[in-house]
Amino acid sequence: MSSTIEQNSPTTVMQERLDQFQARIDADEKIEPKDWMPEEYRKTVLRQMSQHAHSEVIGMQPEGNWILRAPCLRAKKILLAKIQDEGGHGLYLYSAAETLGTGREALIESLHNGKAKYSSIFNYPTLNWADIGAIGWLVDGAAIVNQVSLQRTSYGPYARAMVRICKEESFHQRQGYEIMTTMMRGNSAQKEMAQDAMNRWWWPALMMFGPHDKDSAHTQQSMQWRIKRESNDVLRQRFIDKTIDQAHLIGLTIPDEQLKYNEDTKHWDIGPINWDEFWQVVGGHGLCNEQRMKHHIRAHQDGQWVREAANAFAQKQISFN
């Protein structure tokens, strides 16, 4: 029968696999490392996990910038613990990425040669102590909205990493908001620092969700494969709505003259986002892009002999205790 030949042709087999794959996605099944998956799905998930892992790690730099200068013992302990969590998130995510066959060393190499990205938010500098508050409250706050949504992402290891990470993230946002609250209750210099941090971090935090849906290249396919569960604009609006009240509660002004509550939609409408700035920073021309990469490359190179020594020693298998 002619139909047999047709059914067995490579394109038909591929289409069947794709259909089956999509059916599993539609049934909300998790895709596991050994399962068949379209090459494009593998690439997209790997790119996203790698970018996420690098973001956790590069994010240690702007916050680490204030560890030595943290203003009291309690604040120093909290900040150290917070940054340590972020490094831990990096580890979970590198492991999750490894399930798709790419190891940490290769991911770091891609970061260093510019093929892999990290969140642009970390290319902004931390200029005063309130920036540490603003990062926890706004940057982690924005990340949480995204990560809560990603707990239901279709790739199993990524979803499970997100569940673990989300448990720790709410502490990050709380400690950030607490710093802002304390500073807004403090002296005039502290209030000024807090508002200054707010002014500098608000818009970049909104940009973390990525371009508007109509301009987002990857969104549609990612949504169909349920790698992404909700669109950039939906997530951004959720963040805006929950954050504005928090800002007002402690007396911070949102640096947006067009900000207005919309009675019809029951959402806050914001003024236009400066996408030129966004693309400029994504393109490598933010204040700290160079610095962040050089720092990471230098630390990695400085550690080369340590890793070599550890490997050499492991191979010699000298026992000690």
């Binding site: 560890i67 030595l68 550690g303």
Partner: protein, 250 residues
């Protein structure tokens, strides 16, 4: 010197040792050779920070004058910190930090072990709590020293260099102060801790295939608040906000 005053000074010194070590270890954040080590050192910094706070609070409970642990940590001048010279030395490369941590935590391990038997129940409770942490720091750092000693030519020479570099600051940890003399019977004799420390370190060095410097000269002064120039710079960063905005609450 009265016992109470001696205990105060002794507790502040313990706090200072931990605080300055914490500040140095925290410098490794985002600079570690692998992410796991970055986290391990941040964790050790957190341990020492917690210890410092506990010892300061104990000191203040002995002589309550309205000051807080933060005041002790942040609002003294260079000549009022009583940490050992080793703690304030720069991190150097990873070998130097690991050697420094091993020399330092071996000392604290023996000291806290002895202090956990102290008749001063507060001090003994704090020491037993810290003991678990410093035991781990010693294990972690000495394992790295062994890896370096038997890893590559480069790692061995870096570790050896670190020992040569830091050795002169080691006796300083065991200096006897007036407080030690007053607290005889309550706190361990520094000389006996030093001799135990010598055998622990000799054993470690021989397991690493590393050696002490031929010229065993020593510099001292930490417990008299006579420091190397490094401490002032550590304090500049540590104290910046407290000094810039006096009286502000954080």
């Amino acid at each position: 010197m009265e016992t109470q005053q001696a205990l105060y000074q002794y507790a502040v010194r313990l706090g200072d040792n931990s605080l300055i070590m914490a500040q140095r270890l925290a410098e490794w954040c985002s600079n570690g050779p692998i992410l796991e080590e970055d986290l391990a050192l941040t964790n050790a910094a957190l341990d020492y920070l917690g210890e410092a706070e506990n010892y300061y609070n104990y000191a203040l409970s002995l002589e309550p004058d309205g000051r807080t642990a933060d005041d002790l940590a942040y609002l003294r001048n260079e000549r009022q910190y009583y940490n050992c010279l080793l703690a304030e030395q720069p991190n150097g490369d990873y070998a130097q930090t690991m050697v420094k941590l091993a020399l330092f935590s071996a000392y604290l391990k023996l000291l806290y072990d002895a202090l956990s038997q102290s008749t001063d129940t507060n001090l003994s409770a704090l020491a037993s709590k810290s003991l678990k942490e410093v035991k781990y720091h010693f294990r972690h750092s000495s394992e790295w020293m062994i890896r370096f000693g038997h890893g590559t030519e480069e790692s061995k020479s870096r570790a050896q260099q670190a020992i040569y570099e830091l050795w002169r600051f080691t006796s300083d940890m065991f200096e006897t102060t007036a407080a030690d003399a007053t607290l005889k019977g309550i706190v361990p004799d520094p000389a006996s801790i030093q001799s135990e420390w010598n055998s622990v370190i000799n054993d470690l060095l021989s397991r690493c295939g590393l050696k002490k410097p031929e010229d065993p000269y020593q510099v001292k002064g930490g417990y008299q608040a006579k420091h190397t120039e490094h401490l002032g710079h550590i304090l500049c960063e540590l104290q910046f906000l407290q000094r810039a905005y006096p009286g502000a609450k954080w």
